[in-house]
Amino acid sequence: MADQVQASAQRAIAAQRAERVVDLRKRPRIGESIIQTTLFACGFISIFTTIGIVFVLFEESLAFFADPAVTLVEFFTNTVWQPRIEQFGILPLVNATLMVAFIAMGVALPLGLGTAIYLSEYASERARAILKPVIELLAGIPTVVYGYFALTFVTPILRGVFGQDVVSVYNVMSAGLVVGVLITPIVATLSEDALSAVPGRLRQASFGLGATRWETAIRIVVPAALSGILAASIVAMSRAIGETMVVALAAGASPNLTWNPFEPAETMTGHIARISGGDLSYGSIDYKSIFAIGLVLFFITLGLNIASRQIVRRFREVYD
């Protein structure tokens, strides 16, 4: 009897369910659309800004190369940059930039990689907790402070060591060394990320074979993290190439094609800063020339960026 009652109740519920009107039509969701549009706009603004910058660079550079005083070939082959006498060869600027960048990498690679290896392979939890914020702090110091540090601290030391008549007051070496210190935190933190991402079981395997910490770090962990370390180096390198304040203060203000790092020279960024800082008449050839330099800088860093992406993609080890 009770069973029957229950069964008929269940049938009733089932019938009700079947008859229920189900509305699956799309509903307008105003809030959702607004949010989507806003987020899209945010993304678009950064893209638009980049496009805008590149556009301006191209436009002004075209105007620069349209001037009868310069040709594209001359721009890349002439070894003199003297806007005053209409000599526009970018080589001295590129040369100074690369010299600063290589000296900086000479400092930052060993220092940054050493720091990264210490942090990820040797440091105790406590040492890491103290050191990491300090390194990040180093990255937060305004670059103008680094510039003064180069000029008033490093240069006198260089002059004291190598001689007043060997080392100029403004020189590439001092700027390069300090830019190296400035980009060390980039190498250190990015490399540390790469080293820490290496699975612990590889270290275990190495220790299990009787390897020391150093052997494990150098022969197993660093090679396994190589793609990340290379990418870190490239990011640091483009930062060194783009660095302006230190070189503007410490490297000098004379576009000078030299291999001697103790002589003054001017980098691309340093030159742009100096020229834009001076009173430039809008539309003059000087004014247009800095856009051409900017475009070259843009292509160099773009190239480095693409290279770093390729490296990460190609050499990344895949551990299931």
Binding site: Q204, A205, L209
Partner: protein
């Protein structure tokens, strides 16, 4: 023949060993000896300290911050935990194979050559080739990889990777090999291959294996040690240690019997 001292009778012997992780005692008062050229299985429920005991044999616990070992672990008459003993040296004598295959992201050849190289190996290229071949043959992997030694170790199957790891351990010519659940990530065929391999290796090496697989312990070991966690302080204890046939056919302790018959754990 049987009148030798403890030091020579056992490949390794623990005396009143306690192992701590920080303030927590994970293993208490373990005293037993591992027979030479035999396969010894460590069994017991999860968390009873099998891996901890195994790692104490080649001081891998040193790598865990806060881990500490008390008592003695004797190897060739020396306490491995004496202050003047170098853990790196210990691991060159006593090799290890891990639960999850962990080949280096290097070629098969370089995976094997790594151990000898860091151990200051000074031979010709031809001698290294020979050593690599010997290790791979020893791990029953040679025939499968001999044409492609340049291939990455990561490109092998799981079972092959594990045999590569065994070959890698063999290449440093240890006296003992410790294996922590070496087959738990492998299919049954690869597992059988590793077990056959263990029987061959037994002629030249002393093997200690941790396993959760009762059939594996029963068929692939000579001695079995059963560990269990003390209910009161959660420290792992050695409950019974005997030949594998005794442990499985007539265990003396009721808890051993309950465990192997699957009644708890």
């Amino acid at each position: 023949m049987t009148s030798a001292t403890y030091d020579t009778k056992y490949a390794i012997e623990t005396r009143n060993m306690h192992i701590y992780y920080g303030a927590f005692r994970a293993v208490k008062d373990v005293s037993f000896g591992i027979e030479r050229n035999k396969i010894t299985a460590l069994i017991g429920p999860s968390g009873c300290g099998k891996s901890t005991v195994l790692r104490s044999f080649n001081r891998m616990n040193d790598l865990i911050p806060g881990a500490r070992t008390e008592g003695e672990v004797l190897y060739h008459g020396q306490n491995l935990y004496a202050p003047d003993v170098d853990a790196v040296q210990v691991r060159r004598e006593i090799g290890m194979v891990f639960q999850k295959p962990n080949p280096f992201p290097k070629s098969i050849y370089d995976n094997i050559a790594y151990g000898p190289r860091i151990n200051g190996w000074k031979g010709s290229k031809a001698e290294m080739d020979e050593l690599v071949e010997r290790a791979l043959r020893g791990a029953a992997l040679w025939d499968e990889v001999k044409d492609d030694l340049k291939k990455s170790g990561l490109a092998l199957s799981g079972g092959q990777q594990q045999r590569l790891c065994i070959a890698r351990a063999l290449a440093v010519e240890p006296e003992m090999i410790l294996m922590d659940e070496p087959c738990s990530a492998l299919d049954p065929i690869s597992t059988l291959k590793i077990e056959e391999l263990m029987f061959e290796l037994r002629q030249n090496y002393t093997i200690v294996i941790v396993t959760h697989n009762m059939q594996q312990a029963a068929r692939a070991s000579d001695y079995t040690a059963f560990f269990l966690m003390d209910k009161d302080d959660r420290a792992g204890q050695l409950i019974e240690y005997d030949t594998t046939s005794n442990i499985f056919q007539n265990p003396k302790d009721k808890r051993t019997e309950e465990y192997i018959s699957g009644r708890f754990g």
